[in-house]
């Protein structure tokens, strides 16, 4: 029984470990659709700015979207590292910004970022 359990645990690690580590664009797309599309679309500014091209873009620069002063003046370009910090705690990463929506799980964040990268032609 114990051995069986141990095997199951081990198999679990062998099966799921690498999958969890690699960024999964499809999973990222699903997560993005569930969590981000309340406010964002790929092609249109809504409650938040449009997301197509966000990876590699300078923060706060989508024409026609009225950003917080904090994000407008942020000056950084969106990369894996900066998007990860932003999604983990936007208000802490850019104080005075107003997204307020956080993604607590690091694995979810990296899959979402992989998806954002894929829709930005990167």
């Amino acid at each position: 029984m114990d051995t069986l359990l141990a095997c199951a645990v081990l198999a679990g690690q062998l099966c799921f470990g690498p999958q969890l580590a690699a960024n999964d664009v499809n999973r990222g797309k699903e997560l993005w659709e569930a969590r981000c599309t309340g406010c964002h679309s790929l092609e249109a500014n809504r409650i938040g700015p449009l997301h197509r091209g966000v990876f590699g873009r300078k923060a706060g620069t989508v024409p026609g979207f009225s950003y917080s002063t904090a994000l407008k003046n942020f000056g950084q370009t969106w990369t894996e590292a900066s998007l990860d910090k932003w999604l983990a705690a936007p208000g802490q990463f850019v104080p005075g910004s107003r997204m307020g929506f956080a993604v607590g799980d690091a694995n979810d964040r990296s899959d979402i970022i992989a998806y954002l990268k894929s829709v930005s032609g990167r």
Binding site: A34, R35, C39, A44, R46, I47, G91, R98, F101
Partner: protein, 204 residues
């Protein structure tokens, strides 16, 4: 203390009661007043600390983003109702959901004002229709799918902003709003014949 005999309980009871009696006896004396004053002072300190830890300006920003969501939802249901694509049977449901969103909007506006903020204005329906690509809607299923997407997005949005509120009361309001939107989402999913998620934690 650890004794579970009725005698043990009786002893504990007596101790507690005599303790209470003692408290009552000193009621009104200067001793209790001093304690009460100290307690109150402690409470006040705690209250002012709690006050200092909340960040009304930050909370207002999150509430205003939420208000934007509600404005958009109200417009989306108007666009749906006016599209001519929604049947007589479905229309009352859309109107009810829109009514909920109007109540949410009014509650958010009142809270934002109470915290000293300025509520964001609604965008014109035509602008929302463009952003939501309403021109691509061809039948009732398309309309229901759009509403379903928006309601699910709103439920998840309200859940995702909960940790950002400095005021726990507002975090709870956000959870209540998320629950209402989840209700809408599930009803729309049922209408569309979608299967219920086989897995738990299907919101958020």
């Amino acid at each position: 203390m650890a004794s579970s005999t009725s005698k043990g309980e009786l002893i504990m009871d007596t101790t507690v009661n005599s303790g209470r009696r003692k408290l009552l006896r000193v009621g009104g004396t200067s001793l209790l007043s001093a304690t009460a004053v100290a307690l109150l002072a402690g409470c006040e300190r705690m209250a002012s600390q709690a006050q200092a830890q909340t960040n009304p300006a930050g909370d207002v920003q999150i509430l205003n983003v939420a208000l934007g969501l509600e404005h958009e939802a109200i417009s989306a249901y108007s666009i749906a109702a006016g599209s001519g694509l929604v049947s007589k049977a479905v229309l009352p449901v859309a109107v009810t959901f829109q009514g909920h969103h109007k109540e949410h909007r009014d509650a958010l506006i009142a809270t934002i004002r109470k915290l000293g903020g300025t509520p964001v204005a609604a965008k014109p329906d035509a602008e929302v229709a463009k952003a939501l690509n309403a021109a691509s809607l061809k039948n009732q299923t398309d309309v229901l799918r759009l509403a379903q997407r928006l309601e699910r997005g709103a439920a998840n949005a309200y859940l995702g902003v909960i940790p950002s509120f400095s005021d726990k009361g507002l975090a709870q309001v956000s959870a209540k709003l998320a629950s209402d939107e989840t209700g809408h989402w599930i009803v729309l999913s049922q209408a569309l014949g979608d299967a219920l998620s086989p897995k738990a934690f299907y919101v958020g």
